[in-house]
């Protein structure tokens, strides 16, 4: 499995089938106990031989931000809404594909020549944005893209710059890719790698997963906003792509277990794995679910710093992606 295949797979929240099928095939080669639970999560378990070791779950989400078709106009355009948080300012003049058949569409906007000064200033919101598939009328549009069809940005996977990658859905296919590496590694205790659904629409898949897995420790592999370039004041910069995997002490969904947070940093330091502390208390992820489900679990989050995270072009450093896997595996071995 490679990152290109994973980021080019179609999987907006609630429509993770394609990603799950890919990962299921890959996971079955590494582990005997692979199942799909009632929330659509792909659960991969490896039974431990040493009952004294803590049971550990690693989680990454399969879903990505995207769009859903909500209507058809008389002249054949599609109305749509975001699935997950997508700022409407990043969708103008972009390419999308709709459904698993990947019907191509474009999101246009009124030409600059026709805009009033007020138009130039006002943000085009989802009430005023449309996907154009070239259909001539509502009937044709509806036949090709029925209500509820999902769409995603159409972005190829491209490596560029000094070891960077631009792609769709690096949030959180990087975590999915690295979960497979963890699954391939040896651990004496009970290990569970879970690929969860619907993170982007309210940490939904992980709630179910956390409830039935009930690990002692849960480590979440994520992508997190970097906000390191341009006009962002230093105090709002979160982490810097290229400077290592980011370890969180706190975000809006959970506070890291203090001891695990320290242990992660110590292991990284000992092994020379590039790492940084996520500096800003922003975002939230599946750690919130694991910490609070059932009897609760100790949690910690490892994130790949990611620029433009909820746009069609996520940007991350390949070395940070590797560091996330390296640190996760090293941590597991340190237990």
């Amino acid at each position: 499995m490679d990152l290109k295949t994973l980021t080019e797979a179609f999987g907006p929240s609630g429509c993770e089938q394609e990603v799950r099928a890919l990962l299921k095939d890959a996971a079955q080669a590494l582990c005997d106990d692979v199942s799909i639970d009632r929330a659509g999560n792909l659960v991969c378990r490896k039974k431990g031989r040493d009952p004294m070791k803590p049971s550990v779950a690693f989680a990454a989400h399969m879903d990505e931000i995207g769009f859903i078709i909500t209507g058809h106009t008389e002249d054949g355009l599609l109305r749509f809404r975001p699935v997950g948080g997508v700022d409407p300012r990043v969708v103008v003049s972009k390419w999308v594909v709709i459904g698993k058949e990947r019907l191509p569409g474009v999101i246009g906007a009124m030409a600059i020549h026709l805009q009033t000064p007020a138009d130039r200033e006002r943000v085009l919101d989802y009430d005023n944005l449309y996907i154009d598939i070239g259909a001539k009328d509502a009937k044709e549009a509806e036949k090709l893209c029925p209500l509820g069809s999902y769409a995603v940005f159409d972005t190829p996977y491209t490596e560029f710059g000094e070891g960077f990658v631009a792609a769709r859905a690096l949030d959180d296919r990087v975590g999915c890719l690295n979960l497979l590496q963890i699954l391939a590694s040896d651990y004496a205790g009970d290990l569970c790698c879970v690929f969860v659904t619907q993170e982007e629409v309210g940490l939904r898949g992980s709630k179910g997963a956390a409830f039935h897995i009930q690990p002692d420790i849960a480590v979440i592999l994520e992508g997190t906003a970097a906000n390191d370039l341009g006009d962002t004041r230093e105090r709002f910069q979160v982490c810097v792509p290229g400077q290592g995997v980011a370890v969180s002490f706190m975000d809006l969904a959970s506070i890291a277990d203090r001891q695990l947070f320290q242990q992660m940093r110590e292991v990284a330091k000992e092994r020379g794995i590039p790492h940084q502390v996520k500096r800003s208390v922003t975002g939230g992820n599946d750690a919130g679910s694991f910490q609070q489900a059932g009897k609760g679990a100790r949690t910690v989050v490892l994130s790949v710093p990611c620029r433009y995270i909820h746009s069609g072009n996520n940007v991350a450093s390949l070395s940070d992606i590797k560091a996330q896997a390296d640190l996760a595996v090293a941590f597991l071995h340190s237990l």
Binding site: R89, V106, A109, H113, V123, E162
Partner: protein, 345 residues
């Protein structure tokens, strides 16, 4: 080459206004097999001649494109942008671009994250000054490879949509260059009296500068400018847009009425539907400069409806483009010495 392939290839080439050489070379090579002589002048205009003994006719479509330019390199290695021609800043956030530094570099246009904006800022679009290009490399490397003044081109992607519609950047106005290409192919089977010049002009987006010098040098008897016009788009005032499924012939003081009639008659005889655009003053196309060249050139304007002009997803109907080629060829074949006497009747 099929006309669709011509469109796909020509729209990919970098040719920001003022530096159209690559595009000119492509057009010159593609037109050459259908013409008697082809040259590229000092302004990067391509002038392709198909000889005749009659009046000199100039067809003109512009080959330059809008784009961006590096105006500053920040300490973090990100690039700030100026514009060449009218680039709508709304299309930029999250867009891929090509930066033509010492190497051709991929960049992503970034902006401050929405959750870090004040409520007031969040209600407004990002301005060009708020945006930057991220090259995925450190400042030292950036400064080694990129300089102020380097050109930045928007991402090229040709997408075939339903119903012979296609979406690609720079249909404005290379789709009309493709229309001339189609006309040249159709003229193989037609006899013409006129001395025909198919001119792909430069620097339209910054004020029809190539068309001005091109028309001066050529000194044509008649001219037909070819450009795109706005197709129906949500939110746009209806009187300024046209249906995407047929060509448009403009009328108004900048358009010669008799030449326009010749165009509409030709369309009628060949069962080609034409919509009408009424333009009360300047047309903001090459027609304006050509019409005022030397002592004046009777000029008509034929337009191809285009959705989302000046975005990376400009969308047109390729069937209409080809109809345009057919109309031009038929028109070219009709021009004769007799037209001179009808001009002011």
């Amino acid at each position: 080459m099929r006309t669709e392939d011509f469109l796909r290839e020509i729209t990919a080439l970098k040719g920001l206004s003022g530096d159209e050489g690559l595009v000119s070379a492509f057009v010159a090579e593609a037109f050459a097999p259908y013409c008697d002589e082809v040259k590229v002048d000092g302004m990067f205009n391509v002038i392709a001649r198909k000889k005749g003994s009659g009046p000199k006719v100039m067809f003109a479509a512009h080959l330059d494109e809008i784009g961006l330019m590096v105006v500053a390199i920040e300490e973090d290695g990100s690039l700030r942008l100026g514009q060449v021609g009218g680039v709508d800043p709304r299309i930029l956030p999250g867009q891929r671009v090509w930066v033509y530094g010492r190497k051709k570099l991929l960049g992503i246009i970034g902006a401050k994250a929405p959750h870090l904006l004040s409520e007031e800022e969040r209600a407004k679009n990002y301005k060009r000054e708020d945006l930057y290009v991220d090259l995925g490399m450190g400042a030292a490397k950036v400064k080694e490879l990129v300089h102020i003044g380097d050109q930045v081109q928007l991402e090229h992607r040709y997408t075939a949509l339903q119903n012979s519609r296609a979406s690609v950047k720079t249909c404005d106005d290379r789709a009309c260059v493709a229309m001339m290409f189609e006309a040249l192919q159709q003229l193989k089977n037609l006899r013409h009296e006129a001395d025909l010049y198919f001119v792909a002009t430069s620097q339209e987006e910054v004020g029809s500068r190539g068309a001005g010098t091109g028309a001066f040098a050529l000194d044509p008897d008649y001219a037909v400018a070819l450009d795109v016009c706005h197709a129906d788009t949500p939110g746009a005032p209806g009187w300024r847009t046209h249906k995407p499924d047929s060509l448009v012939a403009s009328m108004g003081p900048y358009i010669h009425p008799v030449l326009r009639s010749k165009l509409t008659e030709t369309a009628q005889e060949n069962n080609i539907t034409l919509q009408t655009a009424v333009v009360p003053r300047y047309t903001s196309t090459d027609a304006d400069e050509i019409g005022e060249s030397r002592s004046g050139v009777p000029t008509a304007l034929l337009e191809l409806p285009l959705k989302y002009m000046h975005t990376t997803v400009e969308t047109l109907d390729t069937k209409v483009l080809k109809e345009g080629g057919r109309l031009l060829a038929q028109f070219a074949a009709r021009v004769n010495e007799g037209w001179e006497d009808e001009l002011w009747t």
